[in-house]
Amino acid sequence: MDASAKTAYLTKEELAPAKPKLLSHPSAKTGLMGWLTTVDHKKIGFLYGFFALIFFLVGGFEALLIRTQLMVPNNDVLTAQQYNTLFTMHGTTMIFLAVMPLSSAFFNFIMPLQIGARDVAFPRLNAFSLWTFVAGAIILNIGWFLPTATHGAPDGGWFGYAPLTSKQFIPKHSIDYWVMGIQLLGVASIAASLNFIVTIINLRAPGMTMMRLPVFVWMTLITSFLIILSFPAITIALVELMMDRNFQTSFFEVSGGGMPILWQHLFWVFGHPEVYILILPAMGIISEILPTFARKPLFGYPIVVFSGACIGFLGFAVWSHHMFTTGLGTVATAAFSLATMAIAVPTGVKIFNWIGTLWGGHIVMRTPMLFALGFVWMFMMGGMSGIMHAAAPADSQQQDSYFVIAHFHYVLIGGSIFALLAGLHYWFPLMFGRKVSEFWGKLSFWVIFVGFNVTFFPMHFLGLNGMPRRTFTYDPNLGWNTANFIATMGSYVLGVGMFIYFAVLTYTFFKGERVKKDYWDGRTLEWSIDNPPPEYNFRVIPTVHARDGWWYEKHHRAEIEKEKSAHAQAEEEHGGIHMPFGSIWPFVTSVGLLVGAVGITYFDSDWSPGIHAKLGVSLVGGGIMFIGIYFWSLEGNEGYHLHLDQDGRPIADEPHAKH
C-alpha cells in the first residue's frame, strides 16, 4: 500500500501497529484472488449464477438422456443402473444446484440494490455460503468420476426413501455422497438465508418501510425464513441416515426396530416448503417484471405480499400430501387434503393480481415480459393439476405416475425456470450494461415454450394411462408409445430452445449492445444506479418516499436532487463510503468442509485401512475449517472508506490520485 493510497483508506486501525502479514486484508479486485476473496454481493451473485447455469446445463443433459431412453418402448440406450442414477441426479441437480442457486444469485445481486444497501449484512458469511455451495455441488457429483461398482453417483432417488438408502440395499458410497452433498448445501443455504434476513431487516435505506419493499425482496425474505425453518428437518434426517450407514444405529433400519416412515415425514417437512423455496422467488421476479412492462404499479401490493407469506406459512402444513399412499388413515388424509386445497387460494390471488396489473396498462411486449406471461399461463396449468392432486382419492391414482411428472414440471419449468429466465433477461442490462437482442430473445422464448409444452403436456395422458415414474423401460402394449415419442421429440426442441437462449446470453455478455442506465424505465431502486453497478452501488444512499421508489424519484427530480446532495455531504463528513475488506478465510473454511466431507464419504468404515483414512482426512478437513474460522474471526470485520470524484469513480482506485 503506497502512501497516496493510504490517504484514501482511512481506517483507524491503520494508525495502530501493522498487523501480521497473514492477517492483512487482501486487496485484489481482479484475477483469481479477486474472485476467491471477494465479499462483493454482486460478484458473489454472479458466481452463484455462473455455477447454477452450468449445473442447469448438466441437469438438462441428464434429462435429455432420460427422454432418449424412453423415446421408444424397451429401449436399451441406458442400463437400469444408469437410468436410476440419472433420474436421481437430474432431480437433485435441478433443485439444489440449478434453481435454488439461481434464485440465490438474484437474491444476492438484486435484493441489496432494491433496498438501497451497499452490501449484505455479513459480506464474508455470504462468501462462505457461496463456496460451501460449491463444495456441496462437488461432493454430490464426485461419484460420476469414481468406479460405479463401489462408488458411483447417487442412485436412491432425489427423495432418498429409507430403507432403500441403507447399507443393506445400497452398500456403495453413492448414497454417502448424496447425504453429505445435501448436508453441505443445507449449511450454505441456511447461512445465506440468515444473511438475507438480517440484511432486509437492518440495511433498508431510509424511508424503505416494510410495506414499501419491492415484492421480490418480500419473497426473498419469506423464502429465507422457509429455508432456515425447513432445512433443519432434512439436516436431522440426513444425520440419522449417516449414522445408520456408518455407525449401525437404527433410526430407519427395520431390523433394529427403526421406522422407515419417519424418513418420509422428516423429508417432506423439508421437501414441501422446498417447493415454495423454488417458486416464491419466481413469483417475486414476476411481480417485478409485470409492473415494469405494464407501466403501472402492481395491483393489490399488500395482498400479493400477504398471500406470499400465507403460502409460506401453509407450506409447512401440507407435507403429508406427498404421502397420501402411505396409509395415513382417513382423518390425516382429509386434513392434509383440505390444507393443500387451501393453498390454492393465496396462489390464485397472485394470479388475479398479476392480471389486474396488466389491466389498464400499456403493455410493452419485450422478451422478459414474454417469459413472464408464459410463466403466468404455465403456472396456472401446473396449479390446476396441483388441485387435482390435492383431492386425495384422485391422487392415489396419480401419485408416482407421469401425471405427477407433468404437474411439477409445469410448476418448476413453466413456473420457476420461466421466471428465472425472464429475470436474467430483465436484469441483464443492469448487471452487465448490455442488452440481449429482442429477436433472438423472443425466438428462444417461443422455441422453449413450444418444446416445453410438447414435452410435458402428453405426460398428463401417460400418467392417467397408468405409466409409473422412475421406470427405465416399458412394454409396447400399454398405450404409452406415441405420447412418449412426442414427449422425447419435445424435449429435443426444448433443448434447442435452451441452447439458443444461453448462446445468445453468452454472446451478449461479451459483445451485446451497450445500453444506458434504467433501460426498461424501471420502478424500483436498482434501476437508479449506473450499469454495470459500481462496487459501492449507490453514490448516495437513497431516501425512499414511495413504494416504487425510483419511479417516484423520476417524477419528483428537483426535490430528490436537493435531498441527495445534502446526504452526500453528510456522508463525506463521516469519512466517505464505507466498504468491507475482502477475505480469503471464508473460502478456506469451505475448503475445510469439502475435505472433511470427502473424508467422511469416500472411505470405508471398516477397520484398516478404511477407518484410518476416513478419520485422518476428516480431521485434516476439520483442521482446515478451524483455521479458516479462527483467522476469519481474528482478521476483524473493519472495512475501508471510499471517496468518489465527480463521475462516481473511486479516487483510491487511481494510483496517482491526490486527495
Binding site: L164, V254, I303, A344, H362, R469
Partner: protein, 417 residues
Amino acid sequence: MPNFFPNLARGGRALAALAGLLLLSGCDVNFWRMDGHQSTIVVAGPVAREQLHVFYVTVWVTLFIFVVVGAVLAYATFKFRARNEVDEHAEPPPQGHGNPFIELGLIGASVLALVIIAVPTLSAIWSTHDVPEAERKNAYEITATGYQWWFRFEYPAELAALDAAGAKAPLVTGNELVIPAGRPVRIHLRTVDVIHSFWVPKLAGKVDMIPNRANFLWLQADQPGYFWGQCAEYCGDSHAVMRFRVIALAEKEFSAWLEQQESTARTVTAPVADAAAPRPQVAALRSFRQNESGVSAKFDLDPLAGWQAKQLPEANENAALIGQGRQLFAAKTCSACHTVRGHGAMGVQGPDLTHVGARSTIAAGLIENNAEQLRRWIRDPESVKPGNKMAKAYRENKISVSDEEQVAIVAYLESLK
C-alpha cells in the same frame, strides 16, 4: 407409382410423415383416449370408479376456472398492449394500486370452487379407505408382500397341502393374484425389504408396502377379467420391471382354481430316467436385446382366455424330459430358494413355483410364460431383470445351465399346472 396425394401441401406431407412415424413407433395414435391396460380412466371396479369420479370433479372445476381466468388474461394482454413504438413511449397509464372489493370477491369465488371439490373428496376418502360396512363380512382377505422385485400373495383362509402326508399351510402364490370377481377383496400390504407400492390402476389407486407398517387396501372387480398391475414406488435397480397381474374369476371358477392350487405339484409319471442315456441335442436359444419385450399382441386380444389356457396341461408333454428337469431343479439348487410343494423344494427366497406352469407370466409379470421366454429367463436372469437375486445366486454359486438343461427345466416348470 401413382401419386395418391397430388394436391397435398408440403405441410400436409410433413404431417403425414409425422403420423407415419408415430404409427411406426407403436400404433397407439389414440393415446388421448387413455384406455390402455393400466388406465385410470377406463376402470373396472367401484374403488377406481369413485377415485375417477373425484378426478372428474377436479377436472371440470379447474377447467372452468382455467377458461374464465385464461380468457380474462388473454383479453387483458391483447387489449392493453402497446401497439407501436410511439405507444410504447406514451405517457404512462394511471398508476392505480388495486381494488380491495375485487380481491375479496375473487377470494370468495376461489373458496367456493374449492368447496365444490372438497365435498366429494372427503366423501371418497372414507369410502375408498375400507370395504363398506355392510359388505365387510363378505370381504375376501389376501396378504400381498413385496420383495425386490416381485410380489408374493398369501391366502390366509385357504390351506394348501404341503406334502403327501397331509401337512397343510396357507396357500401361497407369486406375481399373479387371483381374486373372486364381484366381491370386495381386502389386501394386506407387507414388505420384506424396501418400500414397494401395490397398484392395479383399473381396480384401485395405489397403497404403499412399508416396513413396520400394517397397510391395506380394498378393491373389487365388477366382472371376471385380467388386469395389469405395477409396483409404483422406486425400490431399486429393477423397479421398472416389478409388475404383476390380477385375474378376477367368477365365484365357481375361483373355487375350482383354489382347489387346483391347494393340491401339491403335479407329477408327470415318467419311465425311470436313465442317467446314462444320451440327451437330445438342443439348439441354443436366440439372443435377446437388453430390455427386449417379452409380451405378444396375440395374448392381449383375450388375456383371460390366454390365462385359462395355461391351466390345462401342455400338449405332447415329454415325460422323460420333465423328469430330467425335476432332477436338475434340485441339482442346480433352484429348490434352495423356490418352493414346489410335494416335490421336496422348500425355499422361500423366491416365488412359490408349485403351480408356475399355470401362470400366464413369469419374472413378476414381465414376460409371457412360454417355453422361449422361460428359457430366456433361466439362461440369464440378469439380462431380464438387472440386479435380481437369482442372477446373484448364479454368480455366487457358479451355477451355469447348459442348453440341454435349460430345455429340461423349462419342460418341468411348464408341467407344473
